[in-house]
Assembly symmetry: C2
């Protein structure tokens, strides 16, 4: 690697935020992180979450800054801080109100999943047995998201809905955190057909480091992960691949229960886990937290990627995508 | 007057918004208007009002643009449009939640009255019999408003609360729409003591053209109004005076009832009106709507103001205030 560290962007984290984690982002050379600010809340709940973030921005102004535009990644890098970009893993914050799309964008939200595991007002989640595709409201909302610059994220959506979203969206979409199902056939991972369509439309995949998405789970090796990346790049090209670690650091297991069950069921839904493995799984030893990102660079280099290719995967591809995606659609 | 029209800013309107009114703003050469987006609503109500404005910005993109910063006034002028700046006439949108100050600023809100006629959580309104001054929450909120760049507006507040606000606020405040009570002793007009303190602290007064604030009401003459301005400027200087017309165009009388009574009483509160004059009063014939702003220029010139002084009152003073006020407080 050169003396100049690559631009590094992580397209998904949901930590139990603290100065410790922000410090680790700096130690790992992480210039920008897309953080989840909603799983199941409504608009007002989400505004409260943004208020909490605003207090973190005040309290940790030496480590983090609110990221709104691609240029904020450069500015964060210059000032030795990490730019934090907001996103939703569900469409619940916009309730039944398309006008909230622009409101949320004005508040700095840059990604919104159309569904999270279950059927939503907009699209189907990957745990439903039937997937009727993007709904009527879904088509209207995708158009509005395209207009204002809120990126469609289909990480937790079902296959047909995702293929629909790629087709319906007039701007490239993202799958911020998932891996190829040919490598590890988890329900949350994505088929080659889908990943090919994503790349052909100019979309982005963030590769996940969440153990349930990894072949071998917590025991997955860095070499296995990086070989998977090499094969994926052979199929869909290198320009559409980045990292979306899905790192959920320092969270109690009550949080993964909330992610899975919210208030939509009184039963326990184990999601990707199981009754005897219900909590957060352990991270692989080569990616425990933000300080381990450089391990990925080395693994990718060992798998045959050039320094320039490593830099593209580490952050440059996401940065290019941010530049194209976060502003209002240019007229015409 | 020179060939180049002055920069023209109106620091308060609440019209029944339509393409007709926006077209009249263009005909009157109005570069920016501070519009009221809340009298009595809570946060969610106010977000809905912003959504409605966003639809107006889309629909009338040839006439208006959302103003967020002083520079947007120049940009609006260059593109032959009117920049619309949001403001609240009450603090109800922030509910009991200081974090909503920054949220509202992010949504483009630039003025907030600490109270509207009645006692609020923050300050006392001008119709209360007792005025205990700025509250504990009021002091905390003013500090937060100072931090983010949300201007304290005391147009409808009581005297002691207003003097307190001038003292407590570390940045200059505004009275966006009122006149001197020495000219016309209406309850909403302001004492010389208060206007002097406002000017000495760098604050701004927007002179009102709402008939209840005018000597003689709807029959007030342009000459009387402009002579009042000349005397005011003799007292407090010209740099602190602009226009805040309080124009409420095309509104049904149900709207003035809402302004006065909201949902805080089941009685009818006549406010500045009376049982036999309960509705909106008629505008003076020399200021019927946005097309009549040039009449003010002529009236002020006739009252002895130079072309440069007329330009300061017409908009330059407000523009300078916008430049100093809308951004985050510089450190230190």
């Amino acid at each position: 690697m050169s003396d100049q560290a690559p631009i590094r962007i992580d397209a998904l984290q949901y930590g139990n935020w603290s100065g410790k984690i922000f410090q680790q982002m700096r130690e790992g050379g992480v210039d920008a992180v897309h953080v989840t600010i909603c799983y199941h809340g409504n608009f007002r709940d989400t505004v409260t979450n943004i208020e909490d973030w605003n207090r973190l921005f005040e309290r940790h102004a030496d480590l983090i800054v609110h990221g709104r535009w691609a240029d904020d990644v450069h500015e964060a890098r210059r000032s030795d801080r990490t730019a934090i970009f907001f996103g939703f893993q569900n469409c619940s914050p916009i309730e039944e109100d398309i006008g909230l799309v622009e409101i949320c964008h004005a508040l700095g939200v840059r990604f919104m999943q159309l569904s999270y595991n279950n059927q939503s007002l907009l699209a189907t989640g990957c745990y439903e047995s039937e997937d009727p595709g993007i709904t009527r409201m879904g088509r209207a909302v995708v158009k509005e998201m395209n207009r204002v610059g809120l990126v469609v994220d289909m990480s937790h959506s079902a296959e047909r809905s995702t293929l629909d979203a790629i087709e319906v969206s007039e701007r490239p979409i993202a799958i911020t955190h998932a891996n190829p199902s040919t490598w590890h056939p988890a329900r949350r991972n994505k088929s080659d057909r889908l990943l090919t369509a994503l790349a052909e439309s100019g979309g982005m995949l963030g590769l996940s480091l969440y153990p349930h998405h990894l072949l071998g789970g917590s025991d997955c090796t860095l070499s296995s992960f990086c070989t998977m990346v090499a094969r994926l790049v052979d199929k869909i090209g290198i320009s559409h691949v980045g990292i979306g670690s899905d790192l959920c650091q320092d969270q109690p297991d009550s949080v993964v229960e909330w992610m899975r069950s919210g208030r939509w069921t009184k039963q326990v839904d184990f999601g990707e886990g199981s009754q005897d493995n219900a909590g957060f799984p352990s991270q692989p030893q080569w990616f425990r937290d933000n300080r381990d990102f450089p391990n990925l660079d080395q693994g990718l280099a060992s798998a045959g990627f050039s320094q320039q290719e490593v830099a593209m995967i580490a952050g440059q591809n996401w940065l290019d995508f941010f530049e194209r995606s976060f502003g209002p659609r240019s007229s015409g």
